[in-house]
Symmetry: D2
Subunit: 342 residues, 4 copies
């Protein structure tokens, strides 16, 4: 059986990445692509790398007949997403890639995203889309909220350690480096090649990045107490890839054992041998996530390093993994593409 798929917001990078992945998915067919500002254009004009595919024209959302759609990916900007999703048919399966349904507490949402949520009842039913930890809920969900790409990276490093109580909860630092595609296809001066290439810098320093809300929510719920991490993202002169270097206090063997146990049966989580360090280059274009643990010369400290591709495992690949589950497919279907190196 072929599942009929719609993608809203197909003119952005996560939309294009969904099309790329679905292009070789054996049981999905794209029946609708929306991009309001570019409605009427062929996808080949907006993303020439998809020119070889036979795709529907870009349309406005209101032109889509959702009766013929089994599952809808919503790759719209934050805030836009909730306004659209609340009016979609209540029976439609939806995987949202925006930030709109990631936070369970409406007040927390309002605090971090600067305004009242517009679709509270949808928010109430949304499942946090980190497959490895919410798999059963996702299987039964109607609406799945894709995680922040940085949030996913940090959570992969820390969730098992918090669950297994092997680290100090009051002294966690996530120093993260991300490629530029996470910022989307937006016209900002600091995203220009001339501004960004050949260098690096930190941004949103000191507790300002919105993905902190996801860390707070997930870690505190798991620990049963408030957990606040330090989180400093840096922008890399690279398009894809996130690597998070996470500093924790605890026995390094216990740290390694906890992560190894958590991920040993996971199809996309790849545990490196102890002491080896992952690289964004080795996951590029794929849904795989590499996890490494190293000791420090100072006793009782461990360094956990996690690398993934922000557009794949960090957003569109994750979304497809969740969609597979929601549609009764094996979660790895269409996602076993090997990383592209060099």
């Amino acid at each position: 059986m072929t599942h009929k798929i719609a993608i809203l917001g197909a003119s952005g990078y996560t939309g294009a990445e969904l099309v790329r992945l679905i292009a070789t998915h054996p049981t999905m067919e794209i029946v609708a692509l929306s991009a309001n500002a570019k409605a009427g254009k062929p996808m080949a004009e907006v993303f020439p790398h998809l020119r070889h595919l036979d795709l529907p024209l870009l349309v406005r959302i209101d032109e889509i007949d959702f009766a013929g759609v089994d599952l809808c990916f919503c790759a719209l900007p934050h805030a836009t997403s909730q306004a659209v999703i609340k009016d979609l048919p209540k029976t439609l399966k939806i995987v949202d890639l925006s930030a709109d349904f990631r936070l369970r507490d409406p007040e927390v949402y309002a605090k971090w995203y600067g305004g009242q949520h517009d679709a509270l009842e949808c928010q109430a039913e949304a499942v946090y889309g980190l497959t490895e930890f919410y798999r059963e809920d996702i299987r039964r969900a109607r609406l799945v909220a894709g995680t922040g790409c940085n949030a996913a990276t940090g959570i992969y490093a820390l969730r098992p350690l918090i669950a297994d109580a092997v680290i100090d909860l009051d002294d966690i630092i996530i120093d993260l480096k991300t490629g530029v595609s996470g910022a989307g296809r937006s016209l900002k001066e600091n995203l220009l090649h001339a501004e960004l290439s050949e260098g690096a810098h930190a941004y949103a320093v000191g507790g300002k990045h919105r993905h902190l809300a996801e860390f707070d929510q997930e870690f505190s719920a798991l620990a049963g107490r408030e957990v606040k991490v330090q989180f400093t993202p840096h922008l890399l002169p690279a398009n894809r890839g996130i690597v998070a270097t996470v500093y924790v206090k605890g026995e390094v063997e216990a740290v390694y054992a906890s992560l190894k146990r958590a991920y040993e049966d996971e199809p996309f989580m790849v545990m490196l041998p102890f002491g080896e360090t992952p690289s964004t280059r080795h996951v590029r274009g794929s849904n795989f996530c590499h996890v490494g643990v190293s000791a420090d010369r100072i006793p009782n400290r461990a360094i956990v390093i996690v690398a993934l591709d922000n557009l794949t495992k960090g957003s569109s690949g994750q979304a497809l993994q969740n969609a597979n589950l929601m549609l009764g497919e094996d979660e790895a279907t269409g996602l076993m593409l090997a990383p592209v190196f060099p």
Copy 2:
């Protein structure tokens, strides 16, 4: 039925690219990987991006039992390849990715590659591996010689034009720009990041590049007279991708029509609308080849621009396409992966 595959020279970029592609090929199984200098190591150590795969250990070539192999990809360095291939079982199907079997005339080989050929009888049976033009020969071949990646790019631009006699044969210029992975994983000063990034330069200027031998062979045979092109390659600060800007004299409409006709039923050749220009970014990681034609303000001149990924369509993807044919598969099997952008 599953085809048993061996890859010789698996520690280089084209070897790794073969593994990447075969990883999601439905009817191929890798049963042997060789890399003499790294024999005994797991592939994950040599290419960590392939760590998620369950692959045989790297071995020396003489450790492989070719009785259990249906087809062997030979991704060894030039000259090494012929010495190895001449001793392989005469019944084994082989796709060679080196330069060793590309040239039909042993004297031409000796002139460009600086020495006597060591496996003349293999050379005699080898088929030039440009699928679109040698498809039927390849289907029946035992030994297929993969083309030079630059040669493939230039030939895609010019072969139909020469066949259709729509251009002046005495005034053809191929100005080509290539990413660095075409030079392989070799330790040369000019391939270091610090030397290569953030700039561009021409190399092998003025008729010195060995891929000229392939242009000469293919174009002259086709035209029935000597055809010599000017060819200047440039090195780009990018890993993958070749774009060739080809200057010809002839009616631009005839040029466009000739290429369109030649490629309209080809699964991997993508003709752009007239006047549009391809980019290496839009074929990266894929087996697709984009072809564009533009007029010039000077009458009777046309500019043909061709872009492909040197590691895929330019070598390992091409090799797999040919292997599919040799094994009786559809030539596109396992090769429809969409380009990775951004």
Copy 3:
């Protein structure tokens, strides 16, 4: 004596490059910086790399008292420049970096730039700013028009050859590759890091690039007949640098001799040994221009390759070189900074 300098349009890349160069110029002092949209801001906010300098605040142009200014660099966008310059004091020395005063024929200007020129009398007195060829005129000029950066690169390759009549005028091809800073600090999708990095493509193919107007003007005037070149620019994933590969027909020894003679006493023109090829990496950040000549395997063809930094020798360095002449300084003053490599 210290010359008082104003820079109009200091928030763009050529404006910032002027500030960088003048920062270590021994006899120039920046007394005014304009940037209408960013008036009131310190330069350190707009260009943090200039933070260590003690610079005037950015102001609107109408806030500048030109009575205290000896020379004004005008780094404004095309069209804006003419509107501003026509109202500046008629005694003020001006070096314009826009396209507004490069073309001597108002009709040619109108054709290429799509409209009537607004400051025809200024245009009449403007001197084309290619120092090596217009040095004496520049010394006496009040208004110097900086050249197009691509135009400069191509003219350096060809002007001596046309003057010495050593090449065929009807068969000249300039295949040029440029870094992205030439496009300025403008918010365009194709200039984003995610769109531009890791690849290359041609643009303005077939006779559409406006710098062709400069080639036509300069070459035709020199030859005493119409000369039309083919010119294809390509965009590189690099910030600075232009390399032009120029294909000509003529005796290669005569070509080399002509260029060598033309440039042997020039402080910034560096002739490479015969057969060597320049690289943008080896001129980055400097006012030097490297010129190489190679033979081709086809008789009577020569390949001339020229590399320069588009922001320095291609615009702001050239502008400063001209300003030095206009102010009675040695033209190399403040410009001997060595290239930055790696």
Copy 4:
């Protein structure tokens, strides 16, 4: 008066950077350049970006007549340097850029660098070359030991804070990101463009990097007790630049005030406004060092970020700054070149 300068090891990146800087230094003249493996070649062949300079041929060290040399920069590899320096005339002023004389304790040297020191009496007189903190000793020194580039970056962030006792000494994390030129011009697989570009990874994780020896030495001596920091370097896909993100515990206002006070009269240390973050792009090619401080949402934590160019302020610029002092010049002579952006 002109100082006669020799540079040993001129075929590496720090040697070339010294030549670049001295090229516009008003009172230094390069009289000898050594590069044993490339002796006899002109510098233009080894570093074409220096082709415009009139430089002595590369020679072997034993060919240099040190009688005519006022100061010698020694840019040789670690271990080689001590063997050479111990045999140089005892009256010759020397600035060494290797690691050989950075560590005062021979046992610490032996531990980190894996062997007995060969020039212990030279080691005893060497002054640690971090100008801002050892200025008076450097002025009087005969032998100055250039610091590690990573070490300099971390020390700029932390030394004033330790001196002023405003941070917890037992909980300091330096997460550092460096461009690739710090690894030198060495032929290693991981330094190839195809391996390094478009990604990032940590290396020498957990207390293995040799620059830790410098942190230990400098911080412990200053604090009067053992201070051990955590230090994780990461390799960036960029040629120049280091940015260190340093996590400390202490009052953020005190942290900012301490750094501001320490650097307010320093010619090359640039303190950013509170809460702003430096970028490697804004110091590239210059001797300036940008320092930023941000608060965290968690009380009593501060984030100090320092950016410098590893080849300039991190090695050759620092070396020249020290040489200026040793020769009685103003320390900023020839070093006020503004950063190159973009």
